[in-house]
């Protein structure tokens, strides 16, 4: 195999993996406060908000993520597709964050209605809900590839 063929193969693998990650299910939607200036954010940026790697929106509002309880069926989909890790890896991540930085995971919402209430009441709020539960009190934040 020549060097050029190796490079083509590497580029092919990179593109294939990118295509695989670029797909998101339409079963859930990420929601923000209606005043939020963003319409679309990349998957990695949304993950930074939920993993508390970014604490403020560019205009200064504090990022206030709300998670859903593990019993909610769409939570696993969200964790896998947007955070890009498994539930077990997420739990290990929060143990590490609590120990090293004293940072706790986002609060867990009682249910989907509570998630919408949370986001509608906070300019920096962000959460995710089933697409079927969307209403006018919140704004959809589309996830770009």
């Amino acid at each position: 195999m020549t060097r050029r063929q190796y490079i083509r193969l590497a580029i092919g693998v990179l593109c294939a993996s990118r295509k695989a990650l670029g797909k998101f299910t339409d079963e859930f939607a990420v929601i923000v406060h209606p005043s939020n200036r963003f319409d679309t954010l990349s998957r990695s940026k949304v993950s930074y908000l939920f993993l508390r790697k970014v604490s403020r929106w560019p205009w200064g509002a504090e990022v206030a993520p709300l998670d859903l309880a593990q019993s909610e069926p769409i939570r696993r989909l969200f964790v896998q597709q947007v955070l890009g890790i498994s539930e077990e890896q997420l739990a290990a991540y929060w143990i590490d964050q609590r120990a090293t930085r004293g940072v706790s995971p986002p609060l867990q919402g009682r249910d989907v209605e509570a998630a919408k209430l949370w986001v509608a009441a906070r300019p920096g709020g962000i959460a995710y809900v089933p697409s079927s539960a969307l209403d006018a009190t919140v704004k959809i934040l589309r996830i770009g590839s």
């Binding site: 990118r18 205009w59 120990a99 004293g102």
Partner: protein, 371 residues
């Protein structure tokens, strides 16, 4: 007069900069938020005035002292107390340990005994100006990868790599500026720190640790490399530290770190080097070591890990002071807060001049948090 004007100008600039930092950011609230509902309506979690977490850990370890290889049991417990209010965050770590000789950092809270120490390992106050500019002051850990992420609930191995606590000092009393900035998938992190460190010093043949104050200044720069999502983590970091001990002799240290994760695979690697007791730029001796640790997630709860580990504590007596270790182990996490580990080790003392010896180590950890 000119100097007075310069000082005045500087003061005005500083005041303007401070006002800029403290200024409330522009609001985007064209839509007024609804009334904030009580937290009990939102979450079933009980609220608590303080975030409380910790872990209890039991380890059956092989002593890596160079002239002896005996086994011993270690019990330890750590407690983390944290509180975040707006941009301020306080975090502290308390540690009780039945093998105090393995823990070289912290401030003793009770008179140390041969088989028990209770210490404040870390306590800091953090102010978030921006995510890329944060200020921290207190008792801080030196930010080598393993020192920062050494907690038994999250590590895959039972024992720490030999370079941990043996090359870089472990903690300092002082302050730090640090931050992160992300662009898309990639980003950078930095930390600049200074203060009085708790330098570890070693006799040539035993692991006796003597801590002493030294003035330290250092920095770490990490790049989170974008890989078009081929790797989920691709971090490379460079670390530099300069310290002057009580005798006035400077030491220079540097380290390089790598963390690579792709699907079920992860590789950690660290290389640290210390040039010690420099006189006119000429070092008395060096201390250096490295480890490479690949791991594989067999199932969501079961991990396999191997590590190659090497340390040379003093280049004057390189033969007597070098030790290599190869480890292979399994970690099982039936639930995320419980970690059960077992590991087989092979030690090569004195650069192969002595016969290799073998050992088995095991550990059990339980992590808890309130609320």
């Amino acid at each position: 007069m000119k100097k007075y004007l310069q000082i005045k100008m500087f003061s005005l600039c500083l005041a303007a900069a401070t006002a800029g930092l403290a200024q409330a950011p522009a609001s985007s609230e064209s839509v007024q938020p609804q009334e904030v509902p009580p937290i009990q309506e939102i979450s079933p979690n009980r609220s608590f005035p303080l975030d409380v977490a910790g872990y209890v850990d039991f380890r059956y370890l092989n002593d890596d002292a160079f002239q002896q290889h005996n086994f011993f049991r270690q019990y330890s417990a750590s407690l983390f107390l944290s509180k975040t209010i707006g941009r301020w965050r306080f975090h502290s770590e308390f540690n009780a340990d039945t093998a105090p000789e393995l823990d070289s950092d912290g401030i003793h809270l009770i008179r140390p005994r041969p088989s028990l120490s209770v210490k404040l390992d870390s306590a800091f106050l953090n102010y978030n100006i921006r995510d890329w500019l944060q200020v921290q002051t207190g008792l801080l850990f030196i930010p080598t990868y393993w020192r920062t992420h050494r907690y038994q609930s999250t590590t895959l191995t039972v024992d720490e790599p030999m370079i941990d606590q043996n090359i870089f000092p472990t903690a300092l009393k002082g302050g730090a500026l640090y931050g992160d900035k992300y662009w898309g998938e990639g980003g950078v992190s930095y930390m600049l720190y200074g203060g009085v460190d708790q330098q570890s010093d070693f006799r040539e043949t035993t692991q006796t640790v003597v801590t002493e104050g030294a003035h330290v200044i250092g920095g770490k720069f990490a790049v989170h490399l974008p890989s078009r999502e081929f790797f989920s983590t691709f971090d490379v970091a460079f670390h530099r530290l300069h310290q002057v001990d009580r005798g006035g002799k400077p030491d220079e240290m540097y380290g390089v770190e790598l963390q690579l994760r792709k699907s079920r695979f992860e590789v950690l690697g660290e290389f640290d080097h210390a040039s010690l007791d420099l006189v006119n730029g000429v070092r008395s001796h060096i201390r250096q070591g490295y480890y490479v640790q690949p791991s594989y997630r067999i199932t969501p709860k079961l991990f396999a890990v191997v590590r190659y580990d090497r340390l040379n504590r003093n280049s004057f007596y390189a033969d007597q002071n070098s030790l290599a270790r190869q480890s292979a182990g399994l970690t099982y996490r039936p639930i995320p807060s419980v970690s059960l580990k077992i590991e087989a080790d092979r030690y090569e003392p004195q650069a192969g001049r002595l016969p290799a010896y073998y050992g088995v180590t095991a550990g059990a950890v339980w992590f808890f948090h309130l609320p």
